[in-house]
């Protein structure tokens, strides 16, 4: 066997082998009492944007695409999701102190305004995460006014 054949054989075997090592998926299926939609009166329009553009990496329930079962994609994805959840988790948003909730609401708005979120690699694969200016404005206005009314309460 030539060198090239040996290398491609080895690569093929590795590729097959890693398919059997799958990370656990981020899917609980349950809605916690501290869920964002239960803590705030979220308008349906806002909720649907969050659902489509944010929840895959910032909630306990990811809506996985078909290629999520292909390695090494699954590992990269699992890594993105765990980082995302660590910074912001809509599924238990209400477990933050109200001070922190205000900060997070403002930061979500800032990240959208600055075009930092949703991240580019995610937008490439998810058409619904490419927010229009109208969607951004709607979302930012709601986030800001919710943050402001919370600040006024405290």
């Amino acid at each position: 066997m030539s060198r090239i054949k040996k290398i491609s054989l080895a690569a093929g075997i590795i590729l097959i082998a890693i398919q059997f090592i799958q990370p656990a998926q981020n899917k609980t299926g349950q809605v916690l009492p501290t869920d964002f939609a239960k803590v705030y009166a979220v308008p349906a329009t806002v909720q649907s944007i969050l659902q489509n553009a944010c929840y895959d990496c910032h909630s306990n329930n990811t809506n996985y695409p078909w290629y999520a079962n292909v390695q090494p994609v699954a590992w990269v994805m699992a890594n993105h999701i765990s980082n995302g959840i660590a910074k912001l988790n809509f599924s238990n948003f209400g477990s933050n102190t109200s001070r922190k909730q205000i900060s997070k609401l403002k930061e979500i708005s800032n990240q959208i305004k600055d075009g930092e979120m949703p991240i580019t690699s995610y937008k490439l694969m998810h058409k619904s995460a490419r927010l229009s200016q109208n969607e951004k404005t709607l979302l930012m206005n709601w986030l800001q006014s919710t943050a402001d009314s919370l600040s006024a309460e405290n």
Binding site: M1, K5, S8, L9, G12, L15, I16, Q19, F20, Q22, P23, A24, Q25, N26, K27, T28, Q30, L32, P33, T34, N60, N69, V70, Q71, N89, S91, N92, G94, S95, N96, T97, S98, R99, K100, S103, K106, E107, N110, D114, E116, Q144, N154
Partner: protein, 201 residues
């Protein structure tokens, strides 16, 4: 030979659905943190309660020092110095001695620290992105104002300043050790924009 391997690889892709659904651990923590949250809300208006006023032994000087260092870095548009101050501030929060705090004071302190430390961390990690650093600085300034309100100014007169132009006209507060305005949000572009709103004695 090559084609056999590739064919084999592709066919295996179809059989790889051995994913396990593991429940998310965060669910366990819910009850506890909700109670904590309620407690904290009750004590937000701390300064009106004389029992929570600062005592001599409580010293937030090092936290204030790094905040002011950060603020001064922003007035010079210096993202790297701001990041350094942010990292030092995280350490100052960690080093703060909570043992002399009463239960009520500890609650207020923990509430503020929990939020403020995250802002300081972000500022520390984001040298090169001063816009993002300043967004966190605005939120951090709110925390600092509350911290000073509860635990005192550490012996130096401080001023709560306001810049009406920051954040698209929403404005932003900051705390300064000088009466003279030096704007940390607009930096060198508009160094004297803003007004003193309050003297924090």
């Amino acid at each position: 030979m090559k084609y056999t391997i590739i064919g084999l690889a592709i066919s295996v892709l179809g059989f790889t659905a051995c994913n396990s659904n593991v429940d998310n651990k965060s669910a366990d923590k819910q009850d506890m943190s909700q109670h904590e949250m309620k407690d904290m809300n009750m004590h937000d208006s701390s300064s009106e309660n004389p029992a929570i006023k600062a005592s001599e032994s409580i010293n937030i000087n090092s936290i204030i020092t790094y905040y002011l260092q950060m603020k001064n870095a922003f007035t010079k548009d210096n993202d790297k110095e701001a990041a350094t101050a942010g990292n030092e501030m995280v350490k100052a929060f960690a080093a703060f001695n909570k043992t002399s705090l009463s239960a009520d004071q500890a609650k207020i302190y923990n509430d503020i620290e929990d939020d403020a430390k995250e802002h300081a961390e972000h500022i520390g990690m984001n040298a090169g992105n001063i816009k993002h650093q300043r967004e966190h600085f605005e939120m951090l300034s709110k925390d600092m104002a509350d911290l000073i309100k509860t635990f005192g100014n550490g012996g130096q007169t401080l001023y709560k300043d306001f810049c009406p132009m920051y954040n698209g006209g929403k404005g932003g507060y900051w705390i300064s050790e000088t009466k003279e305005i030096r704007n940390p949000y607009l930096g060198k572009a508009m160094p004297t924009c803003g007004t003193v709103k309050q003297e924090m004695k």
